[in-house]
């Protein structure tokens, strides 16, 4: 993994190991975009290797790619950064299929990547907002546990939302 040339200060490198053994060498400034990594680094100071058994290499790679972009954009301190980040975020989530999106979201949540969780939950919302109740149940494997008649009553109360 090549380091960015925008900063001249020497940055410490961290090794992150995914559940499938894939390792990533990442600049500290990039990895600490993730709350969980940041906490570990602050508490202990000098880990050589951080094992992340709840995320595999594919999704860890994607999360780190996102962190890297945001870390790089934030080192350039001009006003356009927000716009650049927004544009890049849009690109990042645009073509994610449902399965990848859910895996990424779980990975971001596990690593406490708050900003990334925000971005991904918003994407999930945009995908489900127009769905029918039955489709929501199917997507999230939820069984209706209402008593007979109860569901009907709730639907009636909110009938305009079903138009």
């Amino acid at each position: 993994m090549s380091s960015s040339s925008t900063t001249t200060t020497t940055t410490r490198l961290l090794m992150l190991k995914a559940s499938d053994g894939v390792t990533f060498e990442v600049e500290e400034a990039v990895a600490t975009k993730l709350g969980a990594i940041n906490n570990m680094v602050e508490e202990e100071g000098s880990e050589d290797l951080i094992c992340l058994p709840n995320v595999n290499g594919k999704f860890l790679g994607m999360v780190l790619e996102w962190c890297k972009k945001h870390a790089n954009n934030n080192t350039n301190s001009d006003k356009g950064n927000d716009e650049v980040n927004k544009w890049w975020d849009k690109e990042f989530v645009m073509d994610l299929d449902q399965n990848t999106l859910y895996h990424l979201l779980m990975a971001a949540d596990y690593l406490s990547g708050t900003e990334l969780v925000d971005l991904l939950t918003e994407k999930v919302a945009s995908m489900i907002r127009g769905k029918k109740v039955e489709e929501i149940r199917e997507t999230f494997k939820i069984k209706s546990d209402f008593l007979p008649g109860q569901e009907e009553e709730i639907r009636k109360k909110n009938s305009w939302a079903f138009e």
Partner: protein, 219 residues
């Protein structure tokens, strides 16, 4: 050299799926915060859990406090006319678009006295300039078993409004639609199948995926 190794352990390793997301109250709440009110009211009938989450007064506080909440995504049409002294005059009321990110505001065509937009959802919008009214137009029905891919053309041709749609999984076939004269919907004018042409012009098949149109076929 000794290596210090640390392991990040949180909740037990759950099966990563949509199921586990819906079971994670924090994540689910955060997803719901981004939904418009209409969707929320509808989703109250998903299950008891969803009903209690959405009905919780704290949920509304969280939602209002979140700057990224979509609750106030409204659109408003303004008309510019040199006759009104170069001002943008707002027309009608603000309206909320349920699937605002599916509506492609960038793809618009002025045809027959109205501005037409296309959408990735089942209905799109048109704005009648004379009447200053916003109306819904259904999008063409997606053929059974196919998935929508891209709208490759949307425009006026010989006085008609046409649209060319590609579908997945087979990209060598596409449909040409024309809007009904009463604007009530689209009908399929042609279904074009270029499969036979491939034999004569094999160079149409690319060995790579063109990033511009995400397609293996060059035509």
């Amino acid at each position: 050299m000794t290596t210090i190794e640390r392991i990040l352990i949180t909740a037990p390793n759950a099966a990563f799926s949509a199921e586990s997301i819906a079971g994670n109250v924090d994540l689910l709440t955060q997803i719901l915060i981004f939904l418009p009110i209409k969707s929320l009211l509808k989703f109250k009938s998903v299950s008891k859990h969803w009903l209690s989450l959405i009905s919780d007064p704290n949920f509304y506080c969280k939602s209002c406090g979140n700057p990224r909440s979509r609750w106030d995504t409204y659109c408003r049409i303004k008309i510019y006319s040199s006759a009104t002294g170069g001002l943008w005059r707002p027309v009608g009321n603000r309206f909320s678009v349920l699937e605002v990110d599916k509506l492609m505001f960038d793809s618009r065509v002025f045809w027959n006295g109205a501005v037409y937009w296309i959408s990735r959802s089942e209905t799109s919008l048109r704005f009648d300039i004379e009447e200053e009214l916003l109306r819904e137009t259904p999008m063409p029905l997606i053929p059974g078993g196919w998935e929508p891919s891209t709208v490759r053309y949307f425009g006026e041709s010989h006085g008609h409004l046409n649209m060319i749609n590609f579908y997945l999984p087979r990209r060598i076939e596409f449909d040409v639609y024309e809007i009904e004269s009463d604007c009530s919907g689209w009908f399929m004018k042609y279904r074009v199948d270029l499969f036979g042409v491939l034999g004569a012009f094999p160079e149409m098949i690319r060995s790579y995926l063109d990033p511009l149109d995400m397609d293996y076929y060059g035509f």
